[in-house]
Symmetry: T
Subunit: 68 residues, 12 copies
Amino acid sequence: MTDKVYKLIELVGTSSKSSDDAIQNAINRAADTLRNLDWFEVVETRGTIQNGKVTCYQVSLRVGFRLE
Amino acid sequence: MTDKVYKLIELVGTSSKSSDDAIQNAINRAADTLRNLDWFEVVETRGTIQNGKVTCYQVSLRVGFRLE
Amino acid sequence: MTDKVYKLIELVGTSSKSSDDAIQNAINRAADTLRNLDWFEVVETRGTIQNGKVTCYQVSLRVGFRLE
Amino acid sequence: MTDKVYKLIELVGTSSKSSDDAIQNAINRAADTLRNLDWFEVVETRGTIQNGKVTCYQVSLRVGFRLE
Amino acid sequence: MTDKVYKLIELVGTSSKSSDDAIQNAINRAADTLRNLDWFEVVETRGTIQNGKVTCYQVSLRVGFRLE
Amino acid sequence: MTDKVYKLIELVGTSSKSSDDAIQNAINRAADTLRNLDWFEVVETRGTIQNGKVTCYQVSLRVGFRLE
Amino acid sequence: MTDKVYKLIELVGTSSKSSDDAIQNAINRAADTLRNLDWFEVVETRGTIQNGKVTCYQVSLRVGFRLE
Amino acid sequence: MTDKVYKLIELVGTSSKSSDDAIQNAINRAADTLRNLDWFEVVETRGTIQNGKVTCYQVSLRVGFRLE
Amino acid sequence: MTDKVYKLIELVGTSSKSSDDAIQNAINRAADTLRNLDWFEVVETRGTIQNGKVTCYQVSLRVGFRLE
Amino acid sequence: MTDKVYKLIELVGTSSKSSDDAIQNAINRAADTLRNLDWFEVVETRGTIQNGKVTCYQVSLRVGFRLE
Amino acid sequence: MTDKVYKLIELVGTSSKSSDDAIQNAINRAADTLRNLDWFEVVETRGTIQNGKVTCYQVSLRVGFRLE
Amino acid sequence: MTDKVYKLIELVGTSSKSSDDAIQNAINRAADTLRNLDWFEVVETRGTIQNGKVTCYQVSLRVGFRLE
């Protein structure tokens, strides 16, 4: 059997800058411990508010990587 | 009973600049009349098109705040 | 009968820059062959990862236009 | 900042006549106290039954209006 | 234990006249064999087309009734 | 291979009269250019409001037709 | 063919005590007339309010049982 | 009133062979006691695992039949 | 027009005791300022964890009340 | 702009043999008139029943292809 | 980059006592091997039935914790 | 506390043969490193197309196993 198998994990990236940056932060962290990261899917975008400003974007995403 | 209770309202922010800016615009407006704004959740991202360009991002979001 | 009728098509725009740019790219392409583009609705945001970096944002969106 | 912001509220209109009439009843009531009502979205259609007849259509809908 | 228990069944009513009439037809039929019909919830509205006309509305609905 | 294949397109019909009429309007328009229209499925019902009245029902629907 | 087949029915249990008790009440009632009840899945939790108090939990659940 | 009315029931078919076979098994069983079976819709596909092998496909499906 | 119209608001009740208690707390708070509270629908159950224990149940619910 | 853009269309493939074969049939048909077919996503599996047997698998799927 | 990143895992807690207890049991177990457990979200509530009684509540939940 | 706790992971199995085979491949791979695999739930079925043929079925599934 040589058909590829992938695993999906769910992460929440955060950023004070932008929702795209929150995605990148989650993937940066995942890349510290996982190889073969292949794709992501956004599940939900949330964030925190302080004094009427967005202080933190929180993007939950599923990240897929190939199992060796 | 001292357990906190929160209320969620749904807003649609708009922006000609970016989807993140549409979120911020909605929250700016909410902060004019509501205190204790705490978090938001994006419900849907839409927009208008004119002459083949995105002219307006429309992001509907639920905004949570603590009831006093 | 003069009531307007619209058609929705689904596209996936891609961009190495940002998710908003992926939306714009899809709409640019649609505008090459369709007139009366009116609005879009984001369906899903995905992307590809290489070497622990987001290399491509993929945003699927429904695009509505008036039938003449 | 001059970008428009909208608020969505959720209502349930009822009518013994038709589901369309239930929608209109909810909007009539909203117009008593809110200005700038702009659009609605049907969330769910339910109803009550008595003696094997529909006695009441209950349509829940989200109603959007521009914040001034 | 005297708390009430209800059962939900799912029906598809059809009508060549209107979607509301399809709902009523389903409930009429249910009332032939079931007592205590109490409420309905629309699940989906579909229909058939012939020669460019709606020939039949098909409304699937969940119908609740009290168990004795 | 003689198994039938169908295509689904998504339309938004509009009507100032009723939601059922909005469905019919969308199908009328589709029948101008497509043959073998077979069925429809309602996706969403929305509408516009002016002066506290429903001025337009907007029903988005998927319309299926057989490919020849 | 000896592979098992199961049927799912949907019930709404009610209780003035708790949401778990509403589940149990629905299952008690189902057990009066059905054998081989095997599992349940909560579909929705609702309830009624009187004088600012929850007076009744209403839990709709799907109940599965083996067909003999 | 001669418009047809259909009922939908939900079954779970099981099979050690394939997911398609699990569908067929559920329908075989339904046909033992119901006439006019007309269509099915797959709701969910699950299964059991033993010693790292799929030992049973479990397909829940809604089965529609015309009420006489 | 004498058909009833209801409004739905969304609240998040919290409790360190139980999820049912979180529901009751949200409704208690709503009853401070709103009359005619009629029913609730649970939207989501979440909670906070500290030292491996559930420290707070957070239940978001839609609460319906009749408009006068 | 050299970022790729894809279009998604929705088809329903049918087969008397298997659900996988219904997928293949839809794609075969799409390949008659479209180039660059790239991926598919199953939306729903349904089928017809005659004399207690599955006579036709109907699989609706979204098919993606690159726009040139 | 000092923005926090969280991971979500999905567990199913079981309990013969209550659905809240099933949640606590899942979190107790997670705390055996994971630090920084922060929040949970209920995904689904199911259970097993024996002799017409709920014998086991099964609550699947997503548990979030901060990655160090 | 002796109540069982389960963990769910999400995998994507692939196969050039069939969607059922893609499920089995994912489970084979999971069994290499995990004990007590107990059940799976199909989340989504996708696939790749080359030259108008399905070249690969990709089935994402949640796999549950008991924590010891």
